[in-house]
Amino acid sequence: MPQPLQYLKETPSQTAGPYVHIGLAPAAAGFDIYRRELGTQIAPEDTPGTRVRIEGRVIDGMGAAVKDVMIEIWQADANGIYPHPDDPRHADAAPGFRGFGRVIPDFDSGDFAIETIKPGPVPMKGGTVAAPHLNLWLVARGINLGLNTRLYFGDEDNSADPVLNLVEQDHRRRTLIAEKTADGVYRFDIRLQGDNETVFLDV
């Protein structure tokens, strides 16, 4: 027998279930308990940058809206800086910018809206540049392990983005791009399964 490896195993995931809002967004569940809910504001009103609103739905394999999903957002500021010590430029992040948000759809329609600023391009190690994007993480009843994906903007130049260029099929690449529908407004539907299934990421 070789020497044993001493690593621990990651705690296995379980679905967030139908009542995820109680813990992570209690106001949406219909009660008021915390002085302050987390993730309600990705970028305060005075954050530098272009304000955008992204409207969409999460859709299951039968075409029905997933009304009990929770989406988390993690994004850079308008200069492409993440407010986290592991971003080499973090000292220059916009003051007060959290970059983190939680979005719950309307329980009746399934429509969600993300209100934030458009992030800037992010310089990557090795000299590539990531096109402006939001990192998204979805949990819901029926989803055993949270799903990672990204949201890019249809009015940006996404041609050199290293992640989009890893997607072999052009029509699948388009599942990650929010289309502009009005000034500062974009449409982004996430399809969990079937036709035009969104590209999900193993990060």
Binding site: E10, G17, I22, G30, L38, H84, P85, K125, G127
Partner: protein, 239 residues
Amino acid sequence: MTTELYQRDRWWHPPALTPDYKTSVARSPRLAQLSLQGGVCELTGPTFGHGDIDAIDNNLIVNYAKTGDAIGERILVHGRVLDEDARPVPDTLVEIWQANAGGRYRHKKDHYLAPIDPNFGGCGRTLTDAQGRYHFLTIKPGAYPWRNWVNNWRPAHIHVSVFGTSFAQRLITQMYFEGDPLIAHCPIVKSIPDPKAIDTLIAPLDLNAAAPLDHLAYKFDIVLRGRRSTLFENRPEGS
């Protein structure tokens, strides 16, 4: 400086499609995921501080009290958040939510006939300390029925959400209680293929941490993905 994470062991986690858990059938992607070598976008993540939460937020027996304490079995749930190298994860946000002692959630979509406890909200949150430790005082949740098969009952469980230091460590799971016979009958538990992995979600009774004449205790350690130490930096990141 960003360091990559160990590859997530997707044979250890539940797969997306687990048909005995019926809701997974229409909510699981059919196509393969795109694997990324993590870059700054995933290896950073939100940070939280004591200004975000209140000291009372980790005491579910009193944090929604209106006329008195919540009713049920008083328990301490405590443990550590570690990474796969057994290093503590300090200052990270741990959030929990759960049903009350009768298995009823305080949620407008829960219509189970067991009553709401007027003094129990069912959610809590805290930050780990410098050694990665956390604790909650709460009521042991009850089992409850759910519409999967006609006679499916969830074992008593507490939902647990942890951030770690990067968005790619984000994890939501469920903690179960030692000795609960329903664990072996639950399609959500059995979405995890390896019985050894299921065991890591079962919190043992911890009499050493109980407070005599006050509350019992259960211990639940949480392990997040470890970070690869880069001994030779010879390739650019793929994203």
